[in-house]
């Protein structure tokens, strides 16, 4: 499987040669021969400070989500205990300044219920990342399989899949997602409550995301299937499925990785929007979008309640976007860097 990978390597060669020119022509030759696409991309990514920062923030967020019980345990809080003693009975807002921020409650407490905001933010990361990642995986699997089929087989298979993709892309997704999520039952496949909401959101968001991947994969497959190495494989007697999965698929890895990283932040925003609108995760389970939705009523009396989950969403999505942009630049053989 090295033959097709020469493609991007060869195109990136001027770049690599430039660097190596200082080290000497002899070494440059070896460097060009020895580097895989992944290696080149990683070396480019390492030089992109913004993307690296984004990547590190993403890793920290994943760690926070995985270690949520440990982290909240360390500060001695949990996301569901009510601290009604900290609430002003007259206005329903926290008594302390800045939404009740104190040594015990790092980010303050929620109005009315008095639940600890720090713990809810930490647990909210679980829902955001879980839905963001898994729905992207659903979309990538569907998009890759259908895109590759459309591009490789052509004919009516291609026209049908392409029409479906155009149709799905043309419609206001949020509304369709809301419609689908709201007709789904509250319990299915033995799941109930929060798990079923999360499951439905992953499926539905993933379902509306696949055409973005599918379109790119189809385009790439269309151009790759005419390449000489595919012809060579065919003349050696390779079967259709061998060519599909052993010859074409490895060359689609780069665009697929790029679209996956770009899709995660969008999905996180969609999850937050659904929970904001009340069709996603419901309280007492913590979700950033749902916290913002409760914060609407308090934007004037307790602005910190709105700022904290908003900033959490912003940092998460920005980190993924920065990392995604960096990955795209690093994997793009025609890239300017």
């Amino acid at each position: 499987m090295t033959a097709p990978l020469h493609e991007p390597t060869a195109e990136a060669a001027p770049n690599a040669a430039e660097e190596a020119a200082v080290a000497g022509a002899e070494e440059a030759k070896q460097a060009v021969q020895g580097r895989s696409l992944g290696r080149i991309a990683w070396e480019r990514l390492k030089r992109d400070k913004l993307a690296l920062t984004g990547g590190i923030v993403v890793l920290v967020l994943i760690a926070i989500a995985l270690l949520a019980p440990v982290i909240t345990g360390l500060v001695g809080q949990d996301p569901e205990t009510r601290h009604e003693d900290l609430i002003d009975p007259l206005f329903g807002t926290p008594t302390g300044s800045l939404g009740g921020i104190s040594g015990d409650h790092l980010f303050g407490v929620e109005p009315v219920s008095g639940r600890d905001i720090f713990a809810r933010i930490v647990y909210g990361a679980q829902i955001s990342l879980l839905v963001g990642f898994l729905s992207a995986i659903v979309a990538v699997i569907l998009g890759t399989v259908l895109g590759i089929l459309a591009g490789f087989f052509g004919g009516w298979v291609d026209s049908f899949i392409s029409r479906v993709m155009d149709g799905l892309l043309a419609f206001p997704q949020l509304l369709f997602i809301i419609a689908l999520v709201s007709v789904m039952p509250n319990s299915m496949l033995g799941l109930e409550g929060t798990s079923v909401r999360v499951f439905v959101m992953i499926l539905v968001i993933g379902f509306f995301g696949w055409p973005y991947v599918g379109r790119v994969v189809r385009g790439q497959t269309l151009s790759l299937r005419e390449r000489e190495y595919v012809e060579a494989a065919r003349s050696l007697g390779a079967g259709r499925f061998y060519i599909l999965f052993k010859e074409l698929l490895p060359n689609l890895v780069a665009p697929i990785i790029v679209y996956t990283t770009m899709m995660i932040p969008t999905n996180i925003l969609t999850e937050a929007a659904l929970s904001f609108l009340g069709v996603g995760v419901k309280p007492p389970t913590a979700s950033w979008g749902q916290m913002l939705s409760s914060a609407i009523d308090y934007y004037d009396s307790d602005p910190m309640y709105m700022v904290i989950p908003g900033v959490a969403i912003f940092i998460t999505v920005l980190a993924f976007n920065l990392f995604g942009d960096g990955v795209r630049d690093a994997l793009d053989p025609k890239g300017s860097r």
Partner: protein, 332 residues
């Protein structure tokens, strides 16, 4: 040109049928597969069995699917009569459904709320087109400059901010904190300045998000086009830089922007749900949100359908505009 128009209209008509079938499928078939009683989902989970039974009869849920689709389809064009449970309900054309919960036809609800959403979407679109495209073009022309970096950082931040957060922030700062704007929605008929005051923050918030997206895309497209041969040719002919950019490069840059604009406007008209919720604007999106809370499925169905039609219409318009701008399109 006429042949092209007829072809496009025919394709749109086919799409219309597909849309109606898909929307029907979402609301009538998906719940069935997922094991939810369709009639219950239409009246809400707290309704009594007699009411559920009546709705099942009214929607003819025990008839074959094809009959149900046909009734649904017919209702859109000639109106529909719901009979069942001892009473008869009339829903005149165009019947976008009937809310058994709030006992009203959906169409008047839609026409009532439509102008608010339309004003929101169009106003924001004007703003984001001007600022987004200008920022993108300037960034591309001054690539690598402080301006370019600054604009792109702001744009990246813009696409990473959820609109309901920027909306609430702007309310907290400009309306509550500084007291510049009274962000209450006032109908246009009552007071023009009051209406303007209520719309300005939603416009800016919505436009900020889209301007960020458009700036990123305009910049990328412009950079790609500036590398094309015909731009080099134009420069080699000795044309002024102004003409090269303004006439040659801008024209090709605007084509993908127009496509995006058509789709985004269509989608927004159907539901600037998040913006309307944040600012409490009585548009279509807010109707959807209320319907979710009241478990009033027919309203969600109606809005989904009208949105899809708006998107279809917007795409048709863009296609026709394309044919006018670019002769290759109508000849292909």
């Amino acid at each position: 040109m006429l042949a092209y128009l007829i072809r496009r209209l025919f394709a749109a008509a086919v799409m219309l049928v597909v849309i109606i079938v898909v929307v029907f499928g979402i609301f009538f078939l998906v719940p069935k597969w997922a094991g939810v009683d369709v009639a219950t989902s239409f009246v809400g989970k707290q309704a009594d069995p007699a009411a559920v039974e009546a709705v099942a009869q009214k929607l003819k849920l025990d008839e074959p699917i094809i009959v149900q689709v046909w009734e649904f389809f017919k209702g859109l064009f000639v109106g529909r009569t719901y009979a069942g449970g001892g009473d008869v309900t009339q829903c005149s054309a165009p019947c976008f459904g009937y809310s058994f919960r709030s006992e009203q036809a959906i169409w008047p609800v839609l026409t009532d709320r439509f102008p608010v959403t339309l004003a929101l979407a169009l106003g924001a679109a004007v703003l984001w087109l001007i600022f987004g495209v200008a920022a993108g073009v300037l960034s591309a022309l001054k690539r690598g400059s402080i301006w370019d970096r600054g604009a792109m950082v702001v744009a990246l931040g813009g696409v990473s901010l959820p609109i309901y957060f920027t909306g609430l922030l702007s309310l907290a700062i400009f309306s509550y904190g500084l007291g510049w704007i009274d962000a209450q929605y006032v109908p246009l008929e009552d007071s023009f300045t009051g209406w303007l005051g209520g719309m300005i923050l939603p416009w800016i918030t919505l436009a900020f998000l889209y301007a960020a997206m458009y700036a990123r895309i305009t910049r990328a497209t412009m950079l790609e086009i500036l590398g094309e041969d015909y731009i080099r040719t134009a420069r080699a002919k000795g044309l002024k830089e102004q003409t090269v950019i303004g006439k040659h490069a801008m024209r090709s840059t605007m084509t993908p922007i127009l496509t995006m604009l058509g789709m985004d406007l269509g989608a927004l008209i159907g539901g600037a749900i998040l913006t309307e919720t944040t600012f409490s604007l009585p548009g279509l999106g807010q109707a959807v949100l209320q319907a979710i809370k009241n478990q009033d499925l027919p309203i969600i169905l109606g809005v989904t359908l009208i949105t899809s039609l708006a998107v279809l219409l917007a795409n048709l318009l863009v296609d026709v505009l394309y044919a006018v701008i670019d002769p290759r399109v109508r000849l292909a």
